[in-house]
């Protein structure tokens, strides 16, 4: 965060603390490495792939013609280029809002109704699994979120403003926790999302399976829970605010390797 008096001394102190991990953090990272083999996220991925290829909904169609930005049915590499502008909807969309579009146009579901379903329940559980599958098809690839269309550039600027927007009972912004290097909340390290935080970190680490509550979380769910902890009112699923934040973080993470679906404590 910007403070009006950041002397050279303070900056030096911060940098020494920032890059020296505590023993605790080293231990936690070792635990995470052990968890990485046998990531339960793979179960959700498998289900998602099956859902992608299964004829469902009022139109009894599969999602195999869904255009995620690289052409109808092209799944590999699509995740690392989202969010992006889509001419057919005239909007910049992230993975999950685009899945809602495909489920509506191809399968006949009502996107507005889908967006209201509680996370982990009913069709929202299916969207979660499909998103996990799609993300997994870009595993190991590097983020290249486009900034070509005017709307994409606008959404970056909107996302940036949202990122720094303080509010709620606690005056928190995303930047309050994610605005500096080497910080942590209690024992949980929080990456600096105003820039590229590195391979497999931040935007490049979701969707992820959270061991602590045994749940598979997508980026929409992650943002939703961030806003909950910021004591904000709730962002609607797939809303422009959530997409704009994805553009901001995704563009900042240009070149970072995606490890989704990842595993978290």
């Amino acid at each position: 965060m910007r403070k009006h008096l950041l002397t050279a001394m303070t900056a030096l102190a911060l940098s020494t603390l920032a890059y020296g991990q505590s023993d605790m953090e080293k231990g936690i990272n070792k635990y995470r490495e052990m968890l990485a083999d046998g990531n339960p996220a793979e179960l959700f991925e498998m289900n998602g792939e099956e859902l992608w290829k299964t004829a469902r909904g009022p139109k009894n169609a599969t999602l195999e013609k869904c255009d995620l930005g690289k052409g109808p049915g092209v799944v590999k590499g699509a995740f690392v280029e989202l969010p992006r502008f889509f001419a057919d909807t005239g909007r910049v969309q992230d993975l999950e809002s685009r899945l809602l579009t495909c489920m509506e146009t191809l399968q006949g579901f009502n996107a507005a109704e889908l967006a209201k379903v509680k996370y982990n329940k009913g069709e929202m559980a299916n969207i979660r699994d499909i998103a996990t599958y799609v993300a997994g098809q870009s595993k190991g690839m590097r983020f290249a979120v486009p900034q070509n269309h005017a709307s994409e550039k606008t959404m970056y600027e909107v996302g940036k403003r949202l990122f720094f927007a303080r509010g709620g009972t606690h005056d928190f912004a995303c930047a309050t926790c994610h605005g500096e290097d080497g910080k942590r909340i209690r024992l949980q390290g929080v990456p600096n999302l105003t820039k590229n935080p590195g391979d497999g970190i931040g935007f490049a680490a979701w969707p992820a399976y959270r061991v602590g509550n045994g749940q598979m979380w997508t980026m929409q769910k992650r943002l939703n829970d961030c806003y909950r902890q910021q004591r904000f009112p709730e962002p609607k699923y797939g809303s422009d605010a959530t997409v704009a934040l994805g553009v901001y973080m995704g563009v900042n993470a240009k070149g970072a390797e995606s490890i989704a679906p990842a595993i978290k404590r």
Binding site: D37, G38, N39, P40, E42, L43, M46, N47, G214
Partner: protein
């Protein structure tokens, strides 16, 4: 019943390593829901692994194993193309068997 397991089996130097990811709630039976009502136990009790029809591992689990259990083990023998079969039975009498080909 239940959801499919994800099984990977690889053989090298006369030994086969098997990794299994099982989909199961593994509810211990000690927790209570938001209204204070106890959540009933629902967890895997036994696990059996077979190679070519012969048992290579058997395990007794219970409430202590957590959700979506991950099991990794190895056994002597096994060759590419042969089958490994994993079966679990839970405390409700539900069971599931999945197979995988050794690579």
């Amino acid at each position: 019943m239940g959801n499919p397991m994800r099984i990977r089996a690889k053989s090298a130097n006369g030994e086969t390593t098997v990794r299994v990811l099982m989909s199961h709630r593994m509810e211990g039976g000690q927790r209570k829901d938001a209204n204070g009502k106890p959540i009933p136990a629902h967890h895997i009790n036994t696990v059996t692994a077979k190679h070519n029809g012969k048992v290579v591992l058997s395990a007794d689990w219970g409430p202590a194993v957590s959700q979506n259990p991950y099991l990794a083990f190895s056994f002597k023998g096994g060759a590419k193309g042969e089958t490994v079969e994993i079966n679990w039975v839970d405390n409700k009498g539900d069971s599931r068997t999945d197979t995988a080909t050794i690579s």
